[in-house]
């Protein structure tokens, strides 16, 4: 079966523990982080994680809900998109 992967995009002010806390939450959901990139763009901290959620118990909806909650606690915006959307938009 094909892997089901999502991009987790974290946007906001840089601070201690972003990778640690997001990764921990992903681990708790049974998701596997395959790639991490981060950069400051237009003065904003942006981190993207490519995450395999094939074994994720709660599906993308549950993951998104918990990531939203974490983002609110840390003052960050967290977006979750299917890899297929990013692929469709950026690859011919």
């Amino acid at each position: 079966m094909d892997k089901e992967r999502v991009f987790v995009v974290v946007i906001g002010g840089d601070q201690k523990g972003i990778i640690a806390r997001v990764s921990t939450l992903l681990f708790q959901h049974g998701a596997n982080v395959e790639d991490v990139q981060q950069k400051v763009m237009d003065g904003t901290f942006v981190m993207t994680m490519l995450v395999d959620i094939s074994d994720c118990d709660s599906g993308p909806a549950g993951l998104r809900r918990d990531l939203d909650h974490l983002g609110q606690t840390m003052g960050l915006t967290v977006m979750v998109h299917s890899e297929s959307v990013v692929k469709a938009m950026h690859r011919v």
Partner: protein, 452 residues
């Protein structure tokens, strides 16, 4: 396959900062097999089918939106033109019986609108067409989620001036029987109406369609505006290029969402409508794109040329991104639903005449504009005839959604709130075309239609 942080961020940023969304997923539903002589029986069967399909559409659209991470704003249904459905019904109030059942179905299913309460009368009217047209004021003012349409002209058939002349009076009745003429906001008069349009108020499920088809309307004026603002000084060839690239991306997302939703519903996927559809959210404006291109206000000299470039770039980018482009696929320039258009009317930059000129290069026609409440019926008919002539002669769709706002004059506005926005009253040329409209008959199809 690896992606850069910029690419993933661009997708997130379009949604987060620039209002990118799938504007409408519209399930077209055939109801021809439900035609019955008894209007109540027809209405009951239509209600059952639409409430069921509508509820599934809503649930699956929300699931796809969650799973893919792309917002889907409106979930809608479109039906076989209602005039065909009431053909054999004997009850004088058959149109209202059907409209109320459809309205209940929409409410129960939680879909925003059901479109298709209309008729195709470009050449002439059947008795059922006439009955439906005359019932539009009561049907649209006594329901909340029903949208009506009439196709009054086509390039092949010409224009039905008898129906256009009568429509002026029907519109006046629609304005008089609903608060702030709201019924008029739920009705479009078309030339060359597409049979697979996912956008309201003009969506219907045409005679050449299958039983159930999903059509998708993408949107993204905010995204296009943002990219145009990034290139304040490039020449127009380059500007077209950057718009094309952006529209390609958002259309690909729309196509993906549409195909996935159709698969989950087990229905055929129809078309992606690549129209840019503004909302009253700040920045989500077609007018602001034109301003970012270099116009002080919409309506300034250069507006029609700028719009022509924009719409061409949208089509090029969208056509490459989607296997089946259809519907209206133009650029919507509604007055009330676009903050820059409202501003342009209020500061005197945009007149009705210039708006009409703009519609010669974009698909959708004179949309959501308000005129004084005392505008005579013949003037409404004449405005519609002018606009439909542009579509008829140029082999394209044009439509008119006009709000003759009771008791209002230029300087006032009519505020519908929500997606429909606020329409400042536009002055109408005070000279009359009454004698022309009163002639009736048919405007012959243009000679250019003879292509066989």
């Amino acid at each position: 396959m690896s992606f850069s942080v910029e690419e993933a961020f661009e997708t997130a940023g379009m949604i987060l900062f620039h209002n990118f969304d799938i504007r409408a997923v519209t399930l077209g539903v055939n109801l021809k097999d439900l035609v019955r002589p008894d209007a109540a029986e027809l209405a009951g069967l239509a209600h059952a089918r639409l409430a069921g399909l509508g509820a599934r559409l809503k649930a699956e659209a929300e699931a796809v939106s969650q799973d893919l991470g792309v917002p889907i704003v409106n979930k809608r249904l479109s039906i076989t033109p209602a005039a065909w459905l009431i053909e054999p019904c004997r009850e004088p109030d058959a149109p209202l019986i059907l409209a109320q059942a459809l309205d209940r179905a929409a409410t129960e299913a939680g879909v925003d609108f059901i479109g298709g309460f209309g008729a195709l009368v470009q050449k002439a009217m059947t008795a059922a067409d006439r009955r439906l047209m005359e019932a539009l004021p009561v049907c649209l003012s006594q329901t909340n989620r029903i949208c009506g349409f009439l196709n009054l002209a086509s390039t092949a058939a010409g224009m039905n001036l008898d129906a256009v002349a009568r429509l002026g009076h029907v519109l006046k009745d629609m304005a008089a029987t609903s608060d702030d003429a709201l019924a008029c906001a739920k009705f479009v008069a078309f030339a060359n109406a597409p049979e697979d349009n996912p956008f309201m108020a003009g969506a219907f499920h045409g005679g050449g369609e299958g039983d159930v088809t999903l059509n998708v309307g993408i949107s993204g004026p905010g995204v296009v505006r943002a990219v145009v603002e990034k290139y304040p000084d490039c020449d127009l060839t380059m500007l077209s290029e950057v718009i094309r690239r952006t529209v390609f991306k958002i259309t690909r997302a729309g196509e993906l969402v549409g195909r996935e939703l159709a698969r989950r519903l087990g229905v055929s996927f129809g078309v992606v409508d690549i129209s840019l559809a503004p909302t009253t959210m700040i920045g989500d404006s077609v007018g602001r794109i034109l301003q970012a291109m270099g116009l002080e206000q919409v309506g300034a000299p250069g507006t029609t040329a700028a719009l022509a470039l924009l719409i061409d770039a949208v089509k090029r980018g969208g056509a490459m991104a989607s296997g089946h482009v259809g519907g209206l696929s133009g650029t919507f320039i509604p007055v009330s639903e676009d903050l820059a258009m409202i501003e342009a009317v209020e500061c005197g930059a945009l007149s009705l005449e210039k708006l009409e000129a703009m519609t010669a290069v974009c698909s959708v026609g004179l949309d959501m504009f308000a005129v004084p409440g005392d505008t005579p019926a013949h003037a409404l008919s004449a405005i519609i005839a002018d606009e439909l002539a542009i579509g008829m002669v140029n082999h394209k769709t044009t439509g008119v959604r006009v709000i003759p706002a009771p008791g209002r004059a230029p300087g006032d506005s009519v505020d519908f709130g929500g997606l429909l926005g606020r329409a400042p009253i536009m002055p109408v040329n005070r000279f009359s075309g009454e004698r022309f409209i009163a002639r009736g008959g048919r405007l012959p199809a243009p000679a250019g239609a003879l292509r066989n």
